[in-house]
Every structure is written in C-alpha cells, then in structure tokens.
C-alpha cells in the first residue's frame, strides 16, 4: 500500500471577507424564500440584500438552516403530543361529547344573562316612565 501525502492549504487561503460568488448569492436567495415560508417566530432579522461577504452569507444560511430544523422539530413534538389522544377512541368520544355541551351551556348561560339584563332594563325603563 502506498501512503500519499496530501498537502494542506495555507492559513492565508481563508478569507471570510471574500465577496459572495453568484453561487452563494443564489443560495441566499433560496434560503430567503425558504425563510418566508416559516412561521414568523422562526424568522431571522437579517436583511439579505445587505449581505456582501462569505462570513455574512454563512451566518444567514446557518440561522435559516437551524430555523428550518427547529420548526420541523417543534411541529413533530406537537404532533407527538396530540397523537396519543387520537389513538384512544374513548377519550376522543368523551371529548367530542364534552365540547358541544360546554359550548351549549355557555351559550345558554349567556342567553340567560342577556335575558336577565334586558328584563332589568325594561323594568327600570318602566320605573322611569312611571316617575
């Protein structure tokens, strides 16, 4: 087996201030479009038109990549939280029965209250007119 030496690039080869290439500019555009599809809370506050260097491009791309993963992870977690309830038929049925009842009773209460209020108003008006 032959061992082949691989020279390393010099440290001076790194230049984070290098202007972005057309490829990186395109990548930024892709990420901008991707970012616009994210819910507001995941979006960066970076103005992409002002990105000029590789370092600036890299920072923006990292933030959006992280945000995309975070948004998907959060969505998966919330899906997981909901999933067990859906699998238990009895619970779903119970919930299904509870909700309309509660709504109905709330409505009824509201109706009752407004009826009471209007009754009070009428009697008060009557009292005033009598005066």
């Amino acid at each position: 087996m032959t061992l082949i030496h691989v020279p390393k690039p010099p440290r001076s080869a790194v230049n984070q201030q290098r202007p972005v290439s057309s490829l990186l500019t395109t990548q930024i555009e892709h990420f901008y479009l991707a970012e616009k599809r994210l819910p507001l809370r995941y979006r960066t506050r970076i103005y992409t038109n002002a990105i000029r260097t590789e370092a600036e491009a890299a920072r923006y791309i990292r933030e959006v990549t992280d945000a995309i993963h975070r948004a998907h992870d959060d969505a998966a977690r919330s899906r997981d939280r909901q999933t067990p309830r859906r699998t238990r038929v009895i619970d779903i049925a119970a919930v299904a029965e509870d909700r309309p009842l509660r709504k109905a009773s709330t409505k009824r209460k509201a109706k009752k209250k407004s009826a009471q209020k209007s009754a009070k108003k009428t009697s008060a008006k009557k009292r005033t007119s009598r005066k």
């Binding site: 691989v6 790194v14 990548q27 892709h30 370092a55 990549t65």
Partner: protein
C-alpha cells in the same frame, strides 16, 4: 463467479464544484494514453483581430488565478461551446472559452488563464484515485449551464425545464432519488458539510424533509459505526466561515476557493470509508463535479435524448430555446471501489442524470415516473441481483484489491 458487484451495499456520491475534466485531469493523458486528456496542442483563439492561438498550459494555481469567477451561465457556456457562433447550422467546437472569459474583464492576457490546467503532482488525491480506480472519459454536466440546474439532475434526473439558478422545484412531477428510496424502505441521506454551509437543495428537500439531511461530521461517525445509509450524497463546504471549533475553509473547489482544501476533503472521505473494512468492501464512491465552471475542456458535449421540458429563448438568454437535447461541458468523474481493476478508463457517455438512474436501478429496480433524460441515461453500476454484463460491470474483480492507496489526510 461472484464479483465485487455482489458485495455492494452502499453508493456514496461526492459532488464538487466548477472544474472541467481537462483542468483537473487533462495531464493524465501523459501517464495513461487511454485517458482523454490534453496533448498540449489544444488551442482557443484570443480576442485580438489576429485571433492568435492560446494553447493549454500546465500553469493552473490553487487560488487567486480565476478572478473573476469564470462565467458559466447558459449564454456564456453557449459561447464557450460554439465559439460565439449563433447561426442555425452552427457546429460545437469548444473554441469560445478565451472569448467568454475576455468578456468579463476585457483583458487579453488574463483571459488566457482559462486554458490553464493542473499537473498531476499538484492534485495528488484526485489524480491518484483516477489512475488507481475508474476514470470516466465522457462524464458531462447535464446542462450547459450553472450549478443549481445541474445539481437538480443528480437529485431528480431533470431540472424541470430550468437552465438557471431558479430554486423553485416544488410540486414537480418527479420525485427525488431520496424520496424514492425512503418510500421503498431503503435508506438515503444528503450530508452537507455543516449547518453554516448547508445545502444547495434547500428549495424542496430541506424545507419539506429535513430528516433526510445530516452533516459531514455525522457522515464520519456513520462510517465509523457502520451506519452509513444505502445511498449518501455529500456536499462540500461552500464558504469560509467561523464555527464553534474555529475557522472552516471552503473545500468545494469553486473558484476562487483553494483547490488543496478540496483535495483534502476528498481524501478524508476516502479514508473514512476505507478505515472501516466492512464499509470499504461494500461501498462504491463516485467523485464528480457539478459543472465545468467556465474552464476549458476540449471534448465537444454530445447530443442526448430531449427532456420533456423546453427552456424558452428568454430563459436561455441566447435567443434560442433549449430542449435539453445536448449535454454540458465534460467534468471530472472517478469511481472508487476495491473491486475495480487498477487503471480502468470508461468511454461510455454519462451525465448527472446517471446518478438517480443508477441508484434507482440498483436499489429499487424498475421505477416510474422518471424524466426522459433519466430514463435514457446510462448507469455506472449494474443492477442489483441481475447477472452482470462483464463488459459493463466496473466492479468486476472477484478478489478484493489489497494494493489500494492511503492518504495521510
């Protein structure tokens, strides 16, 4: 008798950036005459009235030479391939590279650098792998155009009619190779270098299927633990940037990024696979470049089956529509496996649509729907389980090689 093909379980594709075949591997013709590299007599006319011939020269530098980044958008590549001829009956002649590069800086001397190529000793990793394993004489970019549409062919087998950097590949009719594999209970992953470099496949896959992605660090771990998916696609680092552990240098070899950083990157991927004996025995690694980056190559790209899409004259910016019936400029492509005979040179025609075509045929078998371009693309690994055609099977050895090189990367 069983060959290496019967042991194959993993296909790994590494796609680098923007270098032509002649620029990187042209010097190898002097070592192996079967490799269709440079004789040293290839020329392009310069832009002076005398149209003096500008020869190819072994003067390529790792960095600082190709500034500005040579134009490789559709109209510029059209000039490079057809020498600037816009007539109806024009013939491709690869005579417009100097002219195209001159258009960017209007500097006759500087425009000649587009003809420069690397010597063998400058690129010890890529040239060694090309000489030791299989090098493709006819692997072309899928489109005479820029990165994104060419990379799309590697993921989808088509660019859905685009010849530019448009990222919108949403609700398109063909599934990516990763989606196909996962749906068929196979494993696949796109490894980008890190979250700071991220991927060029954001428009569709990262937005919708982030679980398909991993980092290069995870790739190294997966190699070590023997957990590599059946299909892996590796993206290099596209930018110089800071990380928590220090400064990272771009290793994609896109001009003006340092070419030696890419060499090192290729070597570390090779080492990661080779250092796990089970993986080394069962993996084929394809190293390929997405397009030529505007740099000279002498081989005329051939015509190919038209895709079902057409790019309008407006989209091509050449005044002519494009039916995706011609390949882009030739790029370096090398297939690595210990089951490949040393010094293999492949003359069949390939392009990036060959990647999903090969991976689909190998892991899934018959599959539809696929683009016409992918359906007609040649495959570089014969189908799994079927009796391999000895003339086409690149992993043809019946005993694994023990003389493969090591890199001190």
């Amino acid at each position: 008798m069983a060959t290496g093909l019967d042991r194959l379980k993993h296909i790994v594709v590494l796609m680098m950036e923007n270098r032509s075949f002649d620029h990187m591997l042209g010097s190898l013709k002097a070592v192996n005459a079967k490799i269709d590299g440079l004789t040293g007599t290839e020329v392009n006319p310069d832009t002076t009235p005398a149209q003096n011939p500008v020869p190819v020269r072994p003067l390529a530098e790792f960095q600082g030479q190709l500034d500005p980044d040579p134009d490789h958008h559709f109209p510029a590549v059209d000039i490079q391939i057809f020498g600037g001829d816009k007539s109806q009956n024009r013939t491709a002649n690869m005579q417009g590279f100097v002219k195209s590069y001159f258009n960017q800086r209007r500097d006759v001397q500087h425009s000649q650098k587009i003809m420069y190529y690397f010597t063998r000793d400058q690129l010890p990793v890529l040239t060694t792998l090309a000489l030791e394993f299989a090098v493709f004489n006819r692997w072309f970019a899928s489109i005479p155009g820029p990165t994104i549409c060419n990379r799309a062919f590697a993921h989808y087998g088509t660019s859905f009619g685009r010849v530019d950097l448009n990222p919108l590949y949403i609700n398109e009719p063909f599934k990516s190779i990763y989606q196909r594999l996962v749906a068929a209970q196979h494993t696949a992953k796109v490894y980008y270098y890190d979250t700071t470099s991220s991927t060029m496949e954001v428009a569709n896959l990262l937005q919708n299927q982030p679980k398909l992605f991993g980092t290069y660090a995870q790739f190294l771990q997966d190699c070590k633990r023997g957990q590599l998916p059946e299909y892996s696609f590796i993206e290099p680092n596209y930018s110089d940037h800071d990380t928590d552990s220090g400064e990272e240098i771009a290793n994609d070899q896109h001009p003006d990024h340092h070419v030696q950083a890419g060499e090192l990157f290729i070597a570390t991927i090779y080492n990661a696979i080779k250092q796990n004996p089970d993986l080394w025995e069962s993996t084929a690694l394809l190293i390929v470049y997405d397009e030529h980056g505007g740099i000279y190559d002498h081989v005329v790209p051939p015509a190919c089956t038209a895709d079902q899409f057409t790019a309008s004259a407006n989209a091509t910016e050449t005044g002519m529509e494009f039916k995706f019936d011609r390949l882009g400029v030739r790029v370096p492509a090398v297939l690595v496996s210990p089951w490949i005979p040393k010094g293999t040179v492949v003359d069949r025609v390939f392009d990036h649509a060959s990647i999903p075509a090969t991976v689909t045929r190998f892991f899934i078998g018959d599959y539809a729907p696929r683009s016409p371009r992918e359906t007609n693309a040649d495959i570089f690994i014969e189908p799994n389980g079927a009796p391999a055609d000895p003339a086409r099977n690149l992993l043809s050895l019946t005993a694994m090689r023990t003389d493969c090189p090591d890199f001190d990367a």
